[in-house]
Structure formats: structure tokens, C-alpha cells
């Protein structure tokens, strides 16, 4: 008889990722003792009209995968063959992530707007949701106005926070009463899911009031157990479960996929967050990791700082059907300024609206690709700036309008990973995220991180082994000095000492973008000597040496300035952007 433990450790895993536009079926198997990505099949997602059942797209993606593999995964009845058969047919387990579907319409309720309400808003940002109504002590509307307003916005979800543990109860009870009456007045099949994450002493009373009036009632530990402490982690997990419950109501086939995976199904943002946590544990203490994913349905930013994490999902910045919504947060001018050629704002606006009609479409021309990449830059900028607000309070920012330093950045999303050159991917990320200090930028070429996060439930070693297997591309180690000097002033002397003793020196001016050649995987020592109090991550004006490993683009020194300020003159700006593309191989 085989040992069940070893069987588990070598089991093959089918991961199904149901995205807003594409469904992917990815097979992981053990090769020479290590988990590897074996093959991937894909198909358009079928959550929308006319099919409205994700099962169809998933089946097509699996069929595509089995034709690549040359061995069956589905039986004659189109059912997955589980477990693997002696002839190699089938797989042993399934995990899934799902991001497709409409934005979850959310009402958040809390007591103080700067305390529990803010925490509830941050919690709602960990799934693909949009806040459609808020209730707090600051809300001076009559209760009936609040009731009518809640009914009008047709919420899918209501998150109630407020009251430190053992603290305020009267105001929460009043709020619960309003929410209860609103739910009571909704048709039974339209009632929202309710999550209570407030004063835990009130749990019984809130449950008694709202459980019969909601489509389902959930409780998680208080997200604000005291005024000073915010703890979103347990609620995040509960909210991920709720998200799937809502998706099951909204889209056909989610229940089947959930059953197939033995409930190992989660929203991709949750999987991404889990991987960031895992990576934080893998790297040395004190290292911070950022993951940025620009998808059709949302931009997701996950940042890990040892045991702490910030996770934010911004559906209004996704490059799919919500694209016109981006214009509520940015202007066409802000998008157009990233273009290396002159494209009219009307043209950009038309593209943006047309793309929202066909979110799965791919830019067919150079101009359309430039627009898409400019949209991604702007979306990343906005998302990263917004995400900074939910970073742990102890995280230092290197300056006003600057982002905190991250040691590693993992980037995903097809607009980044499918860019025609690594240079385009890197420049897009540098422009969008504007990292400061010393950062290694890694491309999640197959958009695996969220699915690996889901796979961690099945087997904890699988994600680690796949990451180490070369499925990710180390784009470059990037040094981004922060300096207040004039553009054109030398702010850094860099000295790269190769393993064979050869030395490359570079004097970097403020505004410059420099590549120091270092072949992928090769190691070298990089000496950094800042001038004029520039900060490369060692502190203002402090020099240092680090061991570096070459990425696909070597070592990059991005001294263009933090924050990056583009010339106002359009012609000069376009010339400069073209120059950057030329330097970095875009």
C-alpha cells in the first residue's frame, strides 16, 4: 500500500483561475522531486451573457489543457478524472480562484468615521467591492432616510463595525435597527449578506436581530478591538468566504467549481495576500514585499511587512468593463501624458469606452497598446497611492508624496506580463509604482501568485517550489535614489564589481536612467555612493555595498526622480519618454 503522506506530497494539482476575461486551467506536477508548472490551457470566461455559467469556460480551458498534455483529464461525460489513474489520465486535486462577476455592492456601517468606519471601508477593499452607502455617527439623516437609501442601493453586502470590545453598544444597536428594517423591507431573495465585525459583546443581539433578515449572517472578530488597534486579518478570511457566497448567487457554475475543488476556491486577491504573507516568511525578516496585479476586473495591491499585510482591491481601476469609471479619479490629460507619441484625448476616451464594451479585447495597433499601457501606469499610480493609506502605521515613507520602500515587487496582470518586451514591462512598473531605494522587480509571467495562494491550502510546499522553479522572471534589481537636487546634478556613483573582478563604473545624474549590464542569474557586488544627500535606501547621503543578482535587464538605476515629474511641455515630455523606452529596451 502506498503511504498516504507521500502520495499527498506528490499529488498532481489542477488549478482553475476564472478571470474576468480568461479562464485558465493550470497543471502542477512533481518533476524530479519538485513541483513544476507543467502546462496551461485557456479559454474565454463564460460568466457573462449569453452563457452565464463559469463551468463552460472552465471545461473548455481544461479541454485545451488536455490537448496540450496529450492525455485525458476529463472522462466521456466531461467530468474530471480524480484521482490520477495508472495510465496517467486525470489529476489528484483541484483548487480554484474566481474574480469574474459584478462588483459587490457594499454598505459599510461604523461609529466614528476615522476609526471603525475607516476600518470597515478598508476591510471592504480586500474584495472586489464598491461602497454604495455608509452609515456612521456623523450621518445626521433621519433613520427612515437611511432605510430608504439602503434599499435604493440594492446592496449585496453590509459590513457592520464599531464599538471597541466591551465599549459602545447603544449607537450600534440603533444602526443595527436601521439596517434590520431596511433588510426587512427588501424582497427575501434580494436581501444582502451581513457581516458583523464590531463589539463582540453585542454579537448575540446583532445576530438575533439580523440573522432572520439577511440572506446570510456572518460574524468575525472585532476589526477595531480598541481605538489604537486594527485587526483585519480574521475578517479578511471571512469576507473571502462571503465573496464566494455572493458569487454563487450571482453566477452559474460557481457552486459546481466549489464542490469540485472541495471548497478550495477563493478570490484571487485573497490568494495573492496569502502568497505575500508566505513570501514575507521566506525572505529575511525586515524585508517588505509588494505585489501589484493589473487585471480587467480590478487592480490589486498587496504589501507584506514581516507578519503584517495590507491588501487592497480597486475595481474602478481595472482595465475592463469599469474603465470609464477610472475617469472619476483621474483625467484624460493624466493618462495622455504617459504617451510617447501625440494621441488626442478624444481618441483615448473613445478607446477607453470601446474597450469597456469588449473587456476581453486586445490592443491591435501600436497606438492602442500605448493607450492600454498608459492606462495601466495611471491605474497603478492611483492604486498604489490609495493603498498606502492602509499600510501599517509603523511603516516609514521616505518623503512626502513618496511610497514606502519595498525590497521586492511582484507584478502580474496581462497588460504587464504580456508586454512585447521586458523593457516595456519594467518601465511601466517603474512609472506606475515609482519604487524608492533598492528593489528587485519580479514578473509573475503566468499570473500564478493568486492561484499559488489558493494551492497553499492543498500543499504548502507547492507554491515555494513553483516560485523557485523559474516560473517567475527576475526583471531587474532597481536602485531608485531619492534626491532634492537640481536635475542634471550627479547624485550617485555606482560601481559594479563582477565575479571575475571586472568593474563597471557609472556616474548617475538626477533625471537619468541607467542600465548596468549583469546577465540574468549572475552575481556581482554593487557599491553605491550617493552625493548631495541622495538616499538610495541606506539613509540620506549614506553609501553602501550590496550583493546583486542580474535580472533580465541587468541592474537598473532609476534616478528620474521621486516622485517622477514629467515635463509640462508635451514635445519635450514625449522625447524624454521615447528616450527612456530606448534606454530600457522598450
Amino acid at each position: 500500500m502506498s503511504d498516504p503522506t507521500s502520495l499527498f506530497e506528490t499529488a498532481s494539482l489542477l488549478a482553475v483561475d476564472i478571470g474576468a476575461s480568461t479562464t485558465r486551467a493550470i497543471l502542477f506536477e512533481v518533476v524530479e522531486g519538485q513541483y513544476r508548472l507543467i502546462a496551461m490551457g485557456q479559454s474565454p470566461t463564460t460568466s457573462e451573457m449569453p452563457i452565464r455559467d463559469i463551468g463552460e469556460g472552465a471545461r473548455q480551458a481544461i479541454e485545451n489543457l488536455q490537448s496540450i498534455l496529450g492525455r485525458p483529464l476529463l472522462d466521456a461525460e466531461q467530468q474530471l478524472i480524480i484521482p490520477t489513474q495508472p495510465d496517467g489520465a486525470g489529476i489528484d486535486a483541484v483548487v480554484a480562484t474566481i474574480s469574474t462577476g459584478p462588483v459587490v455592492r457594499t454598505v459599510v456601517a461604523g461609529l466614528l468615521s476615522s476609526v471603525s468606519l475607516e476600518s470597515a471601508q478598508r476591510l471592504s477593499e480586500t474584495i472586489c467591492s464598491s461602497i454604495v452607502e455608509t452609515l456612521s455617527l456623523k450621518d445626521h439623516r433621519k433613520p427612515e432616510e437611511q432605510i430608504d437609501s439602503i434599499i435604493r442601493v440594492h446592496p449585496d453586502l453590509i459590513i457592520i463595525a464599531g464599538g471597541t470590545d466591551g465599549g459602545a453598544s447603544r449607537s450600534i444597536k440603533k444602526m443595527v435597527e436601521v439596517i434590520g428594517l431596511a433588510c426587512y423591507l427588501m424582497p427575501k431573495d434580494k436581501r444582502p449578506v451581513v457581516l458583523f465585525a464590531g463589539n463582540h459583546n453585542l454579537e448575540k443581539e446583532v445576530r438575533a436581530a439580523l440573522e432572520p433578515l439577511s440572506s446570510s449572517f456572518h460574524v468575525s472578530p472585532n476589526i477595531r478591538p480598541s481605538l489604537e488597534v486594527e485587526d483585519l486579518e480574521p475578517s479578511r478570511k471571512e469576507l473571502a468566504r462571503i465573496f464566494l457566497e455572493i458569487r454563487k448567487r450571482q453566477i452559474g457554475g460557481v457552486e459546481e467549481v466549489s464542490q469540485l475543488s472541495g471548497d478550495l476556491i477563493m478570490p484571487p486577491a485573497f490568494g495573492l495576500g496569502r502568497m505575500i504573507r508566505l513570501l514575507s516568511q521566506m525572505y529575511k525578516p525586515g524585508k517588505s514585499i509588494l505585489a501589484a496585479d493589473v487585471g480587467a476586473s480590478a487592480v490589486t495591491i498587496a504589501a507584506g511587512f514581516d507578519d503584517k499585510m495590507a491588501l487592497n482591491v480597486y475595481p474602478y481601476l481595472g482595465l475592463g468593463e469599469n474603465l470609464p469609471g477610472m475617469l472619476r479619479f483621474t483625467s484624460l490629460d493624466d493618462i495622455a501624458r504617459w504617451m510617447p507619441v501625440d494621441i488626442s484625448k478624444d481618441f483615448i476616451q473613445n478607446y477607453l469606452y470601446q474597450k469597456s464594451l469588449h473587456p476581453t479585447s486586445i490592443p491591435d495597433t501600436k497606438e492602442d497598446l500605448m493607450i492600454e499601457q498608459s492606462l495601466a501606469r495611471q491605474a497603478l499610480r492611483l492604486a498604489f497611492a490609495a493603498a498606502g493609506k492602509s499600510y501599517p502605521t509603523e511603516i516609514c515613507f521616505p518623503g512626502v508624496h513618496l511610497r514606502p520602500m519595498h525590497d521586492f515587487i511582484y507584478a502580474g496582470g496581462s497588460v504587464i506580463t504580456n508586454a512585447p518586451t521586458f523593457g516595456q514591462s519594467l518601465l511601466l512598473l517603474l512609472d506606475g509604482l515609482q519604487p524608492a531605494g533598492i528593489t528587485t522587480i519580479i514578473l509573475d509571467r503566468n499570473n500564478l501568485l493568486p492561484i499559488l495562494g489558493a494551492a497553499a491550502d492543498f500543499n504548502k510546499t507547492l507554491p515555494v517550489q513553483v516560485i523557485e522553479s523559474g516560473a517567475f522572471v527576475n526583471l531587474a534589481m532597481v536602485v531608485s535614489p531619492v534626491s532634492n537636487t537640481r536635475y542634471g546634478t550627479v547624485i550617485l556613483r555606482a560601481r559594479l564589481i563582477y565575479a571575475d573582478g571586472k568593474v563597471v563604473k557609472s556616474e548617475v545624474k538626477h533625471g537619468g536612467l541607467v542600465i548596468l549590464p549583469l546577465a540574468a542569474g549572475q552575481t556581482a557586488q554593487l557599491g553605491l555612493h550617493p552625493i548631495h544627500q541622495a538616499d538610495v535606501g541606506f539613509g540620506s547621503g549614506r553609501a553602501g555595498k550590496i550583493n546583486v543578482t542580474g535580472g533580465a535587464l541587468g541592474v537598473v538605476i532609476d534616478a528620474r526622480g521621486r516622485p517622477l515629474e514629467l515635463p509640462i511641455d508635451a514635445q519635450r515630455r514625449r522625447e524624454l519618454i521615447k528616450k527612456w523606452h530606448w534606454i530600457i529596451g522598450g
Binding site: 432605510i147 428594517l181 486586445i362 491591435d364
Partner: protein, 351 residues
């Protein structure tokens, strides 16, 4: 590979499930003939509520207040009706500020529905009631031409269709409109002038079918009370030739214009139905098709957005586009005879 089908058909059988968002009463019967604007189901819903905090107003406990409340759920109350009274020599009376229906009583509070409206579900297309869905709506069957659009402003209408477009790209301008078009459904190419929408509202017109609209006009189009449907997209695109041919050859016919918004995860999509007589039921078109050579396809994005072409063949493996992207692609032939390579995901089957 499977691709979504956009229905642009000269003659087909159309079956549409029409449902209310809330339960109510179905007012049509099986096999009944309906027009697009006929009400097939209705439901009552409340826009506004009033909450009377009896306990709070009288300054008494909830239990005490509950004993003093004189109304019951379901009761219709006139304005100033006393719903509760305090104690003492000069008892304080609580009166309802507006006429309304009591929807809940409890915890010393009374909740009234004061602004009840009727929700009316329209048939959306002219045809026969094929199936009744109790409390929610019906399935309507129709025969005729069907042209689906990409955007609608949420209204439903019907009327005689007038074609103002000499060609698919004919830009609709205010000077093309006059009073003789009152009560008509106007067919044209792109529109970028707000005055056009205002003039049609003043006539008034019964509907507007455009190939494309400037994104800047969307907020205004949403305010218009007559239905507006866009067949192809945003910007300056001419109407796809298939839709233009069907629509322009049916000018001066009665058309039904259902400009409900395109709900990706729901079941509505804007469309025009032109009822036509049939001797036998035409086939129902599929919603998805496998991409195959010879099919008519519509291109989704520039530089040939919305053009109808013929699928020449699928290209095996990945193809590098001029912009450097590597994608699954197909070769298509435009109506001009020009052959192009386009990403598969940028195609939709016309059928």
C-alpha cells in the same frame, strides 16, 4: 474556439424572458398578443418610508410604547391619523405626517410606507406570450428582424422607423430633424451633437438608433425619456454594414426598440425587433458559436472597429502583431477585399 454571437438577423424567431426585479402580478395570459410597450406585469414598491419612534417621542419604554400603538401592519392610514397616545390629563397624540401603509410595528416604533409606486414591466418586443412566469413576468415570442446593440439608455419604445442615414457613417446633425419626424424612431449613423438629442426630445421622437455616440453625450442620453440604442460603439464608428442593410431596408416599418442597458451578468441587451410575417417559424440563432472559416464576424477594436468581415481561417499557435503582442489570431477579409490578421478575442460572430 467559441465566440459570442451578436444577433444581426433579417428573419429569426426571438424568445425573450421578461422578468420584474421584485415579485408582483402578471397581467397577461398565455398566447396573448402584446405590443412592445404593453405592460405585462406590475408590482408595488415603496420609494419612501416614515419611522415614528413612539417610545422616543412619548419618553416611555419600548414595551410601554408598544402597548400604546393603535395600528397594525397592513393598515392604510390617512394623514393625521393617531397611531399612539401618551398618558395623563392632556395626552400627547402621535399622528402620521402623510397618508401611508403600516409596514412594521415593534420595539415602540411604527414604520409606514408613504410613497408607493407601481413598477410596470413592458413586453419589450411585439409578439405572443409564450410562457407565464408566476409573480415575475413572461416569455414573449416574436418573428422578424433582430439587431442587437452595445449600449442602451434604459427605455423602451416603438414606432415607425425613419432612416435619415444615406450611408452607415452619416453623422446625424440637428438640421436633419424636422417636425414631420414626430412619433418616429430615427435611424442614423454617429452622433456627437447634444442638440440632436434635445431636438428629438422636443419633437418628440419615439426612439433613436445610432451607430455610435460621443462618450461626452452619454450622461445626456441617459436623461432622455425616449429610447436610444447604439449598435456599434463609442466615438465616430459608422454602423456595421449588416445592421445598416437590415435596418435601412425596413424603413417606414413599425419597429420595437428595447434600449435596456447591456447587463453582462444579467439577461438584458439593447435590441431592435422588426416584426415580420412568416409562413413557418424561422430558426432560433445560437448564442455562442465555434469560430470557423466562412463565418461573418464583426471586429471589436480599431483600426477597423465594427466592420463586418469574413473569417478566412484561424492561425495555429501564436501570432506576433505589429505592436509586438503575441496572441492567438485569425485571418479575416474585410468587405473591401483587404485581408487582415486580428486577435481572436477581438472577433464576435454575426448570426
Amino acid at each position: 474556439m467559441q465566440a459570442a454571437v451578436i444577433h444581426i438577423l433579417a428573419l429569426t424567431t426571438i424568445l425573450r424572458e421578461r422578468l420584474m426585479p421584485i415579485p408582483g402580478r402578471v397581467v397577461v395570459r398565455l398566447a396573448q398578443k402584446v405590443a412592445a410597450t404593453d405592460v405585462i406585469a406590475e408590482a408595488e414598491f415603496t420609494r419612501e418610508h416614515v419611522l415614528l419612534d413612539v417610545a422616543g417621542i412619548l419618553g416611555i419604554s419600548s414595551a410601554d410604547a408598544e402597548r400604546r400603538v393603535r395600528c397594525k401592519p397592513g393598515e392604510q392610514l390617512m394623514k393625521n391619523t393617531v397611531v399612539a397616545q401618551g398618558g395623563g390629563i392632556f395626552p400627547k397624540a402621535i399622528r402620521v405626517p402623510h397618508a401611508g401603509r403600516v409596514v412594521a410595528v415593534g420595539g415602540g416604533q411604527v414604520l409606514l410606507a408613504v410613497d408607493e409606486s407601481n413598477f410596470e414591466l413592458h413586453a419589450g418586443l411585439p409578439g405572443l406570450v409564450n410562457q407565464i412566469i408566476p409573480d415575475r413576468g413572461a416569455v414573449i415570442q416574436a418573428f422578424g428582424a433582430l439587431i442587437q446593440g452595445v449600449w442602451g439608455n434604459g427605455h423602451i419604445g416603438a414606432g415607425l422607423m425613419l432612416c435619415l442615414a444615406e450611408n452607415p457613417g452619416y453623422v446625424l446633425a440637428p438640421n436633419h430633424l424636422d417636425v414631420s419626424m414626430r412619433g418616429s424612431v430615427i435611424l442614423a449613423g454617429p452622433c456627437r451633437d447634444a442638440k440632436v438629442l434635445h431636438t428629438l426630445a422636443e419633437l418628440p421622437a419615439r426612439g433613436l438608433i445610432l451607430s455610435s455616440i460621443s462618450p461626452d453625450l452619454i450622461p445626456l442620453a441617459l436623461q432622455m425619456r425616449y429610447p436610444i440604442m447604439i449598435t456599434d460603439g463609442f466615438g465616430q464608428q459608422p454602423m456595421n454594414s449588416s445592421a445598416f442593410k437590415i435596418l435601412s431596408t425596413n424603413t417606414k416599418r413599425e419597429v420595437a426598440l428595447n434600449a435596456e442597458p447591456y447587463e453582462r451578468y444579467g439577461s438584458t441587451r439593447p435590441e431592435v425587433v422588426i416584426p415580420l410575417p412568416v409562413s413557418q417559424e424561422p430558426p432560433i440563432s445560437h448564442a455562442m458559436e465555434t469560430l470557423e472559416p466562412g463565418q461573418q464576424v464583426r471586429l471589436r477594436l480599431d483600426p477597423h472597429a465594427c466592420q463586418i468581415s469574413t473569417l478566412v481561417g484561424l492561425i495555429p499557435g501564436l501570432t506576433t502583431l505589429p505592436n509586438g503582442l503575441r496572441v492567438s489570431a485569425a485571418e479575416v477579409r474585410l468587405e473591401t477585399g483587404e485581408q487582415l490578421i486580428v486577435p481572436l478575442v477581438n472577433l464576435e460572430v454575426v448570426g
